[in-house]
C-alpha cells in the first residue's frame, strides 16, 4: 500500500492503480470520459486534470491527467486546485461547442455521463456564438441507434469495439473536429457484443434501439436484479420495466461473471416478455389430444383452470412430470415434489441428459475447479475443445478474447508498463498474443486471436484432447493412430498449458459428444497432477441445465416409454416445448397417448397447443427463482414486473395444484423461502441456494430495498384512468425488495442491486459506488454461491478413447450448429433479435461439395429419419468431410437431437 496526499490529506492507495481510479475509489468526484475500468487509460479526453506537486515544499506543481499517473507512494495532488478546476471546466466547454441541443429527445438524457460531468465541472452557459458542426447518422442494425452529432470524441467506442471485443467494422474516420465514429458504410454491426456500446458510450451517440421503441427514462424504470435466461453463463442483468412491460436490459456488474459487458442475445432477447404470443390467462382446451377435432383454447379464470387440472390429476392412473432446463430450480423442484421422485423427468433428451450427468460427475468427483469468466479472462493459456462458445455462451468468448492479452500484459509489466496503461500495453504487445488453442468442427469467431485452430470431426477433437492429456502426463491413456501433425500440435498445446500459471480448458455439450467432456477433464486432471492450478469450464445449453441435472430427473425418453408401456396417462409439462427437444413423431406419440396434459409456459408453442389445461407461467421478468449456471453457481433472479392477472411463477402454480381440491386451501409452498427450505432439506447439495441471495425478511435499517428509483414519476397518475384513487403497491412476500420508490437508500448486497445511482452520478458509471474499489469486486462480494466444490482427491483418468471418425458409405453425420441469434428458444421471439436470425442452411465440406458438384447456395435435400429438409448449401473449406451442419433449433427442423445420421 502507498500513501498519497489529495488536497493535503493522506490516503491509503494501491500503487498498481492510477490516480483517477484511486480518487474515484476514495470517493472523490473527478470527472473523466475516455477512461473505463475495463478498457484502461489512454489519456485522450483531458478531462481528469489534477495538479500534481513534486513534494511538500512545491507550491506551484503542474497539471497532469490523473488517469495517466500512477498512485505511487508520496504522490501529492490537488483535485480542488482552482486552475485544475478551470482546466476541467474548459475541457467540457470545448466538448459542448458542437454538442446538439438534444437532451430532451436524447435517450441518454437522465443517465448521461456527459450530463453528469458537465454538472460536476460547473459548465452551464454556452459562450461560443458560432455554428455547430453536424454529421449524418448511419444505420447500424436493429440493436443500436446512431446519433453522431452528440459525439465528444473520447474514442471509447472504437477502443471497446475493436480492441476489447475484436470487432472489425467500427472505426474512427476523418480528422480534427470532424472525427467520425461509425462503419465504412451503413450496415449491421457484426460483433456479437455491439450492445455494450450503449453503456460504453458516455453520451447518446450509441443508444439502445429496442428501448427507443418504448422509450422510458432511467428514473422511471422499475428494475430488479435478474439473471440472463438465454444461455448457461448466468450473466447478471437489470431488467427495467414500465407500464407492465419489460423495456430494456442493462448489465448488472458481477465481478466473477459478466463484469461490465453482456452479449447481444442477453441484452436484446428480453422482448419476448412483451409479445402477443405470451400466455396471459389459463387456457382450457377440450379434445386437445385429438388433432382432428382441434379446437381453439378458451381462456378461463385461475380457479376454473385449477379445478379442471385437479380433476384430471385425481382421475389419473399415473402422473408424470416433465421438468425443464429453462425453468427455475424451484419450479423443477415443485414439480418433482408434486409428482414424486419416480415420476419426475428432467425434460432433456437422453443424450443431453447423459452429457449433463457426465459433466456434473466430473465436477462433483474430480479435483478440478469450475472456471468463472473472470478466471478465463485472467487465464494465460486456454484450450477450447469442441465448443463454439461465441454461439453457445457468447460472453465466455469475450472473456477468452481478453485472456490472450494476458501474456503481452505480463511482458509489458516486466518493462515497467503499468497494467492500466492500455495504449502502452498495446504498443508493447503489437501482434503478440498469449496461447489460445481452438479445436472445433469448423472455423469459429475466435480464430483470429488463436495461436492455432484445428477443425476435425467431434470424435477426432476428443482424441486430440486425450492426446494433449497424454502429452502432459504419462499416466493418461495414450491415443493410437493420431496423425503426425496432430501429435505435434498436441505437444505444443501441452507445453503451452504446462508453462502457464492459470490454464483453463473449455468444453461443452454442444456437439453431443461425451468423449469431449472426458478429454477436457483428462487435460485438466493431468495439469493438476503437474501441480498447475488448472480450471475447467463446461458450457451447457440453457440457463438452468445444471440445476435441472442436479435434481436427478430421468431423460425424456423414459417418460415416453412410461406412456407407451401403458401405465402413465397424465403429464404435467413444465416450461418445456417437447417439439424443440425430441423428434416430433415421438412427441406426437407421447402426447397422443396421454389422457390429460397440463402445461405451464410463458409463450404459446406446439406443446401448449396440445395441452388440456395451460397455466400461464411467468417469464424471468415476472418470477422469483434460482438458476444454476455453468460453473454450478446458484443465482437468484427477482420479479421486475408484478405479474399481471393470472400470470404466476410455475412453482406457485404447482404449489396451488398440490394443495388439494378446495380453492381456499393453502398452497404447499406459499413463499419462495418456504420452497427453498423444502428443497434444501431434500437436496443437501443445493444448500447454497439459500444463501444465493438474502431471504425475504432481510431489511436494511428496517426497510426494504426499492425497485423503483427515488425519482420514479407518475405514481398518482399512472393508474388514474381506471381509478383516481391510487392502488396500494403490490406486496412482495418473496424478496426483500419492494414495488415502490420508498425504502432503504443504503447500497444493498450485490444480489439485490436494482439500479445504479448515486448523487451526482446518474449514468451507469454510478456503478463505481457499488464496488469495493472501482473496477473491483462487488460491495459485499459477488452474488451467488457455487454449489459444487472440487474434491481434494485425484480422480483416475478416463480411458475410453473414441475411434477416429470414418464416414460409412453415403451416410453423413449431421451436427447442430448453434447460433447466438436463433438457437435460443425464447430470445428468438424478440423482434429486434429476430432480424438477426439467418435463414436456415446446411454446411458441407469442400471435398463433399466437389464430389457431389454442389456449389454455394444450391438447394440440397437432406434426409433425416425419412424426412426431407430442403436447405441452401454453404460450403465450408475447413469442415471435415462426411459431416454436415444445420442450425440448431431453427423452425422446420427443431427437435432433431444431434448428432444424427443424414443422407443427401
Amino acid at each position: 500500500m502507498a500513501t498519497i496526499h489529495i488536497d493535503g490529506k493522506p490516503y491509503e492507495a494501491d500503487p498498481e492503480k492510477n490516480l483517477l481510479q484511486t480518487s474515484l475509489t476514495l470517493g472523490f468526484d473527478l470527472p473523466y470520459f475516455c477512461w473505463h475500468p475495463a478498457l484502461g487509460s489512454v489519456g485522450a479526453c483531458r478531462q481528469c486534470a489534477v495538479r500534481q506537486y513534486r513534494n511538500e515544499e512545491d507550491t506551484q506543481g503542474q497539471i497532469v491527467m490523473a488517469c495517466m499517473v500512477p498512485a505511487a507512494d508520496g504522490t501529492r495532488i490537488s483535485i480542488e486546485d482552482e486552475e485544475a478546476r478551470e482546466f476541467r471546466r474548459s475541457v467540457i466547454e470545448w466538448l459542448m461547442v458542437n454538442h446538439p441541443h438534444d437532451c430532451a429527445v436524447c435517450d441518454e438524457g437522465g443517465e448521461c455521463h456527459l450530463q453528469d460531468m458537465t454538472v460536476m465541472t460547473g459548465h452551464a452557459y454556452r459562450r461560443f456564438r458560432f455554428r455547430k458542426r453536424t454529421f449524418n447518422n448511419q444505420y447500424l442494425g436493429p440493436f443500436i441507434n446512431h446519433e453522431m452529432n452528440r459525439c465528444i470524441q473520447c474514442y471509447r467506442c472504437v477502443r471497446y469495439y475493436k480492441d476489447y471485443a475484436g470487432g472489425r467494422d467500427l472505426d474512427a474516420f476523418a480528422s480534427h473536429n470532424h472525427v467520425y465514429f461509425g462503419r465504412s458504410e451503413d450496415g449491421i454491426l457484426e460483433n456479437e457484443f455491439s450492445g455494450n456500446l450503449v453503456e460504453v458510450c458516455p453520451t447518446g451517440v450509441f443508444t439502445d434501439k429496442t428501448l427507443k421503441t418504448h422509450y422510458t427514462r432511467k428514473w422511471d424504470l422499475q428494475s430488479a436484479p435478474s439473471v440472463c435466461a438465454h444461455c448457461s453463463l448466468g450473466c447478471n442483468t437489470l431488467v427495467g420495466t414500465r407500464y407492465g412491460g419489460a423495456r430494456r436490459i442493462l448489465n448488472r456488474y458481477h465481478y466473477d461473471i459478466n463484469g461490465y459487458f453482456l452479449c447481444d442475445r442477453g441484452r436484446y432477447g428480453y422482448e419476448f416478455v412483451n409479445r402477443p404470443e405470451r400466455i396471459r390467462h389459463p387456457l382450457l382446451h377440450e379434445g386437445a389430444h385429438d388433432t382432428e377435432t382441434y379446437s381453439k383454447p378458451e381462456t378461463c379464470s385461475a380457479d376454473v383452470a385449477l379445478k379442471e387440472a385437479r380433476i384430471r390429476l385425481r382421475r389419473a392412473n399415473r402422473i408424470i412430470g416433465i421438468g425443464s432446463p429453462r425453468a427455475s430450480l424451484e419450479s423443477n423442484y415443485a414439480l418433482r415434489s408434486l409428482v414424486g421422485e419416480d415420476n419426475f423427468f428432467n425434460g432433456l433428451p437422453a443424450a443431453e441428459s447423459h452429457l449433463v450427468t457426465v459433466a456434473l460427475e466430473i465436477l462433483r468427483h474430480g479435483p478440478v475447479r469450475s472456471a468463472s469468466l473472470r478466471e478465463i479472462e485472467e487465464a494465460d493459456a486456454v484450450l477450447v475443445l469442441g465448443e463454439d462458445i461465441t454461439q453457445t455462451a457468447p460472453r465466455m468468448a469475450l472473456a477468452v478474447r481478453q485472456s490472450v492479452m494476458r501474456t503481452p500484459r505480463e511482458t509489458a509489466r516486466k518493462l515497467g508498463v503499468p497494467a492500466w496503461h492500455d495504449r502502452a500495453i498495446r504498443d508493447v504487445a503489437q501482434s503478440d498474443r498469449g496461447p489460445l488453442f481452438i479445436a472445433a468442427i469448423d472455423e469459429t469467431r475466435l480464430d483470429d486471436v488463436s495461436t492455432a485452430a484445428i477443425t476435425r470431426a467431434p470424435n477426432d477433437l476428443a482424441r486430440f484432447g486425450f492426446a494433449v492429456a497424454r502429452a502432459l502426463h504419462p499416466e493418461a491413456p495414450p491415443v493410437d493412430g493420431l496423425s503426425e501433425s496432430d501429435t505435434t500440435l498436441a505437444r505444443q498445446v501441452s507445453d503451452a498449458l504446462a508453462n502457464a500459471d492459470h490454464p483453463v480448458i473449455i468444453t461443452g455439450t454442444g456437439l453431443g459428444n461425451e468423449a469431449l467432456l472426458q478429454a477436457a477433464a483428462n487435460v485438466a486432471w493431468a495439469l493438476l497432477r503437474c501441480e498447475k492450478p488448472a480450471a475447467l469450464a463446461f458450457v451447457v445449453p440453457e440457463a438452468n441445465t445444471f440445476g435441472a441435472g442436479m435434481l436427478d430427473g430421468r431423460p425424456l425418453r423414459e417418460a415416453y416409454d412410461a406412456v407407451s408401456s401403458g401405465d402413465a396417462d397424465t403429464a404435467i409439462i413444465l416450461e418445456n416445448d417437447l417439439y424443440q427437444r425430441t423428434h416430433d413423431v415421438d412427441v406426437d406419440r407421447f402426447l397422443g397417448g396421454l389422457k390429460s396434459i397440463i402445461a405451464l409456459d410463458s409463450l404459446r408453442n406446439a406443446t401448449t397447443d396440445r395441452a388440456h389445461v395451460v397455466l400461464p407461467a411467468g417469464t424471468f421478468a415476472e418470477s422469483d427463482g434460482t438458476f444454476v449456471n455453468n460453473e454450478t453457481r446458484a443465482q437468484r433472479f427477482f420479479q421486475a414486473l408484478p405479474p399481471e392477472g393470472d400470470i404466476a411463477e410455475s412453482w406457485r402454480w404447482l404449489g396451488r395444484l398440490a394443495a388439494g381440491s378446495a380453492p381456499s386451501e393453502e398452497p404447499a409452498w406459499k413463499y419462495l423461502d418456504t420452497i427453498i427450505d423444502a428443497m434444501v432439506a431434500d437436496y443437501p447439495e443445493l444448500r447454497g441456494v439459500r444463501d444465493a441471495a438474502p431471504s425475504a425478511d432481510f431489511r436494511s435499517n428496517g426497510a426494504r430495498f426499492p425497485r423503483s428509483p427515488r425519482r420514479f414519476s407518475g405514481r398518482t397518475a399512472i393508474h388514474a384512468q381506471f381509478d383516481v384513487n391510487e392502488p396500494s403497491p403490490p406486496a412482495d412476500h418473496d424478496s426483500p425488495l419492494s414495488f415502490s420508490m420508498e425504502g432503504s437508500t443504503a447500497v444493498p448486497p450485490a444480489s439485490l442491486v436494482s439500479h445504479y445511482w448515486s448523487p451526482g452520478w446518474n449514468s451507469v458509471q454510478a456503478l463505481n459506488k457499488f464496488q469495493e474499489e472501482v473496477g473491483g469486486a462487488n460491495r459485499g462480494g459477488p452474488p451467488g454461491i457455487c454449489l459444487i466444490q472440487p474434491e481434494k482427491n485425484l480422480h483416475p483418468f478416463f480411458t475410453e478413447i473414441p475411434a477416429t471418425f470414418r464416414r460409412s458409405g453415403e451416410k453423413f453425420v449431421v451436427l447442430g450448429l448453434p447460433h447466438i441469434f436463433g438457437s435460443d428458444e425464447l430470445s428468438r421471439h424478440a423482434p429486434a433479435l429476430a432480424e438477426r436470425i439467418p435463414h436456415a442452411y446446411v454446411t458441407i465440406s469442400d471435398a463433399d461439395a466437389r464430389a457431389r458438384g454442389v456449389s454455394e447456395g444450391d438447394q440440397l435435400v437432406l434426409r433425416i429419419f425419412g424426412r426431407e429438409h430442403k436447405l441452401p448449401a454453404r460450403i465450408r473449406p475447413k469442415l471435415a468431410p462426411g459431416i454436415l451442419g444445420i442450425p440448431m433449433g431453427f423452425p422446420g427442423h427443431a427437435g432433431l437431437v444431434f448428432p444424427v445420421d443424414g443422407h443427401l
Binding site: 437532451c103 429527445v105 455547430k132 458542426r133 449524418n136 446519433e147 427507443k212 422510458t216 381509478d723
Partner: protein, 170 residues
C-alpha cells in the same frame, strides 16, 4: 369610548370603499397571464405538437400527477402517445412548466376546473392539447435541436453547418 367611536367611523368609512367582491360567475375575476391555472399542452408555430415526451415534467412533479408514454413517428419525431394529468392531485406549482424544454406544457389563467366527481379530474392528452402556442410564441424546439425529423434534415437547424463528409480529408 373613543376607541368605540373610532371603530364605528372605520366601519362607516369602508362603506364608501371600492368593492373587492365580484359577482362570480356572472362577472369574472382578472387573472394575470402568468397565473398558474389549468395546464395545457401547446403546439409550435407550425402546428406540430410541442411535447417531445422527455418526461421532465413528470419527474419534476412533486405530487407525481403526470404520467406519459413516448412514441415516435416514422421520421423520428417523438411525441407522447398518452399524456395524463391527475388534476385531483395537482397543486398548480408550475414546476412542470419550468422544467419543460420545449414550452409545451403551460399553466394558463383558467381556474374553472371544479368537478362533482373526482374521477372526472383525470385529464388525458385529448383534454390537454390545445390548437395554439399558449403564452410563448414563436418557439420551435426542433428548429434548434440537432435531431433530424421529417421536414428537417441534419444541418438544417438554426446555427448548424451542413453535415460533414467523414470520408474527405479536411
Amino acid at each position: 369610548m373613543f376607541s368605540m367611536l373610532k371603530t364605528l367611523w372605520l366601519v362607516f368609512k369602508h362603506a364608501f370603499h371600492k368593492r373587492v367582491t365580484i359577482q362570480y360567475p356572472e362577472e369574472k375575476a382578472y387573472l394575470a397571464p402568468r397565473y398558474r391555472g389549468r395546464i395545457v399542452l401547446t403546439r409550435d408555430p407550425d402546428g406540430g405538437e410541442r411535447c417531445v415526451a422527455c418526461y421532465l415534467c413528470a419527474v419534476v412533479c412533486p405530487v407525481d400527477c403526470i404520467a406519459l408514454d413516448s412514441a415516435e413517428d416514422r421520421h423520428g419525431r417523438r411525441y407522447p402517445s398518452t399524456f395524463r394529468i391527475n388534476f385531483s392531485r395537482c397543486i398548480y406549482c408550475g414546476f412542470c412548466e419550468e422544467a419543460c424544454p420545449t414550452y409545451a406544457i403551460q399553466l394558463v389563467p383558467d381556474v374553472e376546473m371544479a368537478e362533482y366527481n373526482r374521477q372526472d379530474m383525470v385529464y388525458e392528452k385529448e383534454h390537454l392539447l390545445i390548437n395554439g402556442q399558449g403564452k410563448y410564441h414563436g418557439y420551435n424546439y426542433y428548429k434548434v435541436a440537432g435531431l433530424a425529423i421529417g421536414g428537417k434534415a441534419k444541418g438544417e437547424a438554426e446555427n448548424e453547418t451542413p453535415p460533414v463528409d467523414p470520408k474527405s480529408l479536411f
